[in-house]
């Protein structure tokens, strides 16, 4: 009896010790892995679905990307509705209808973030520019700008050669180039200290880390204070619902760039954010028939913009405005050849 009792007591003690050991171990683990979330993940049974969603969360679709995905659907819906109208009018087999349908399916709204360490800039050779306005046209086509209000992000103004003052400009000239005139294409200067972003009452326009000043069309309240603040006349307002023909729609879109705009919001040059963030060049640079424009990363010593600025120097328009533009102008080789043999071989 006594022995039995002792055995029983021993067993009880042993199981108690076992239990204490297990509890101690468990609490040790929980002490080591203080993060409760992690602990739960370790202890609870794991299903494949959970793992997949977690992996997706780790990839972190940013707020902007989520909005871009939604925007893609919205744009497609908008485009399809327009295409439907067009197809009804022109017939199902017409080339316009097919083209419109094709473009609608290709629509993809991106939210490509800025690449760390890049600092975009553009430079324009005033000696080369012939004032043909092809850049303005290419810009309209690339950026899905309204066609009927005549919104152009790039305005080419012509001023007399002897006076480089942006005053009494002619922006409706019919013939170009003329000998005594200088043509100055002006768009957003993507300033280092942009007054437009300072005055925006709702932070709807801001400067991205790579130097591009963008407008968030879903946030703009249309107060037009930024137009008032911009010393370069770079901003455009959608004074009514914009109209873009679906057959000319550019399906390669960026949420901060060329998605189809809403009525009563601001828009402006984004240096073709949908192209440049993916390593391309803006449409105006690509289309310029005389190669007057150079675009690149200021931080990259081998980029064309660095070469141009080192070789020819550069100036900005209206430096007195104090906004430190990142759009430079320079006088290339055509009329003012580089200083003779000072630095050795130049571009020639």
């Amino acid at each position: 009896m006594a022995e039995n009792l002792k055995k029983h007591v021993d067993e009880t003690r042993r199981s108690l010790l076992k239990a204490a050991a297990v509890a101690g171990g468990a609490s040790l683990i929980s002490f080591v892995a203080i993060d409760r979330e992690k602990l739960r993940a370790v202890l609870s049974p794991v299903s494949l679905e959970d793992v997949v969603t977690e992996a997706e969360a780790a990839e972190a679709p940013s707020e902007l990307e989520r909005r871009a995905a939604k925007k893609t659907e919205e744009m497609k819906k908008l485009c399809r509705a327009e295409a439907e109208k067009l197809c009804k009018a022109k017939g199902e087999n017409s080339p316009e209808c097919k083209e419109a349908r094709r473009r609608c399916e290709l629509i993809k709204v991106k939210a490509t973030p800025a690449k760390p360490g890049t600092r975009f800039a553009m430079a324009l050779d005033i000696n080369k520019c012939i004032g043909c306005r092809r850049c303005a046209y290419a810009c309209v086509m690339e950026n899905n700008t309204d066609r009927e209000m005549g919104i152009e992000w790039i305005k080419v103004v012509s001023v007399p050669r002897e006076e480089l003052e942006i005053l009494n400009t002619d922006w409706k000239y019919k013939e170009a180039p003329e000998k005594e005139m200088v043509y100055i294409p002006m768009a957003c200067m993507h300033c280092e200290d942009p007054p437009c972003t300072m005055v925006c009452p709702v932070v709807a326009t801001f400067k991205e880390p790579d130097g591009i000043v963008v407008v968030d069309y879903d946030r703009c309240i249309g107060c037009r204070y930024c137009i008032t603040a911009c010393p370069y006349g770079a901003r455009r307002f959608n004074w009514r619902k914009p109209r873009v023909p679906v057959t000319e729609l550019n399906p390669n879109m960026h949420i901060l760039g060329n998605v189809i705009r809403q009525p009563h919001v601001m828009e402006k040059c984004t240096w073709c954010i949908q192209r440049t963030r993916d390593g391309g060049v803006p449409a105006c640079v690509e289309v310029c028939p005389v190669g007057a424009r150079v675009f690149g990363d200021l931080n990259d010593p081998s980029s064309p913009i660095r070469q141009v600025m080192e070789e020819y120097g550069a100036f900005v328009l209206k430096p007195a405005a104090g906004t430190r533009p990142r759009f430079f102008y320079y006088f290339g080789p055509a009329r003012t050849p580089p200083a003779k043999k000072e630095k050795g071989g130049g571009g020639e």
């Binding site: 919104i151 002006m186 911009c230």
Partner: protein
């Protein structure tokens, strides 16, 4: 008269509704109806034409129906916004005279300055509402995501703050006067200490909206804010004088202390002199030697109106009528007669409307930063909406002023205040 009210604040509000809206002659209701119709038409045009794509999602309409462009982006709405902010700010003149200096005559009518400020600020807020492209989004986003670097947010904050202050001042004054009690010092002293800087503040911040912009050289001068405030102190009191003279004429038994008129006329003339002096100083700075060509081009538009003649007309009207009003104030025979005062007040209001509205806003956009001269003539839609907004402002003024005057009458002309 038969109706009796309790002592609670709710009864004060009942009193205001009764006195302001439910009692009145046929002419009063006719005026209210007319104003309401004009206001409703303006709001209709705003919702169904100018902002149709926003409110109705329609393809037609939009702000394209205005003559605003990417070149001239702020027009008649912002022009009158500037004017009415000034009028609202100057409502404080009576308050300062009454509560800071303890002038008995001004104490009687100080509440009318508050009524004027409330009505002017409601006009101001409506003008912003019709000018902003996406008003609903603005209402949601501005409190949520304010950018404290933006003067527009500060303007919104001080304007709504000043509106609240004046509403409080108005309600409390009526609350005491209707029960035939004088305003206690424990209200008036803190009120005037807070309200006076706020009054100067709203107009200063409104000028700060535009004066720090290098993109608009004609505004880009530290003189802009003082100039705004100076002429505001002419137009605001002038409107008060106009209201007082008319009230004396049409409301039986309502009398204003002659000293109130005398002192107000001095304020008007003084403010006009300062404003005219600033105009002279500005012209000297631009024209005497040389200046930045862009600034000079904008000044040329303002003073000579090469592309927009009405700007020059307004500018010279301001100079001429401003000088005329000052000279007339200096003549005692004109200054001391009711008709003379009325005339000077109207002259001053017209002069300052010409100085404050279009001729201060539009030249900054012509030429624009691209050197273009794109003229701006408000379209019928803009005129109608502006008119509608003003009708609503006047409506508010009439209702509140009527309640205020009846409370003043109760305390000062029928009650204990009469013996002061």
């Amino acid at each position: 008269m038969a109706k009796e009210y309790g002592d609670s604040f709710l009864d004060t509000i009942k009193y205001i509704i009764d006195e302001g809206l439910l009692k009145g002659s046929k002419a009063f209701y006719l005026a209210l109806l007319g104003l309401l119709l004009i206001g409703a038409y303006g709001m209709y045009l705003w919702i169904f034409v100018q902002h149709a794509p926003i409110f109705l999602g329609s393809n037609y309409g939009g702000m394209i129906t205005t003559d605003l462009t990417d070149s001239v982006t702020w027009g008649i709405y912002i022009s009158f916004f500037v004017f009415w902010v000034g009028v609202a700010a100057a409502g404080i003149v009576f308050g300062i005279a009454a509560y800071a200096f303890g002038h008995k005559g001004f104490k009687k009518v100080a509440v009318l300055g508050e009524v004027q400020a409330v009505a002017a600020l409601i006009t101001v807020l409506l003008l912003i509402a019709v000018d902003v492209g996406r008003p609903l989004r603005a209402m949601i986003l501005m409190p949520q995501l304010p950018n404290l670097h933006s003067m527009l947010d500060w303007d919104f904050i001080v304007i709504s703050g000043y509106l609240t202050l004046n509403l409080i001042g108005f309600l409390v004054t009526i609350h005491y006067y209707r029960r035939d009690l004088p305003l206690p010092a424990k209200f008036t002293v803190p009120f005037i200490i807070i309200a006076a800087p706020f009054a100067i503040g709203i107009h200063t911040v409104t000028a700060f909206l535009s004066q720090a912009l290098t993109a608009r050289p004609i505004w880009n001068s530290p003189l802009l804010a003082p100039r705004y405030v100076a002429t505001a102190f002419a137009s605001g009191p002038a409107i008060l004088v106009l209201a007082l003279v008319l009230a004396e004429k049409y409301i039986k038994g309502f009398r204003v202390d002659p000293d109130v008129y005398k002192k107000t006329m001095i304020v008007i003339a003084g403010a006009l002199v300062v404003g005219l002096y600033f105009t002279l100083s500005e012209a000297h700075e631009i024209y005497w030697y040389t200046t930045e060509p862009w600034k000079k081009a904008q000044a040329n538009e303002m003073i000579f109106g090469y592309h927009l003649p009405y700007l020059a007309v307004m500018y010279w009207l301001w100079v001429a009528l401003g000088i005329a009003a000052v000279i007339l104030t200096l003549i005692p025979r004109v200054r001391n007669s009711r008709t003379g005062m009325l005339f000077i007040a109207v002259l001053t209001i017209i002069a300052v409307v010409n100085e404050k509205t279009m001729s201060i806003v539009i030249p900054a956009y012509i030429p624009d930063p691209l050197g273009r001269y794109i003229p701006y003539y408000p379209t019928p839609v803009e005129y109608a909406i502006t008119l509608g907004v003003h009708a609503l402002g006047i409506l508010v003024y009439l209702v509140l002023a009527k309640a205020a005057i009846s409370a003043i009458m109760r305390h000062y002309f029928q009650g204990s205040g009469a013996h002061h």
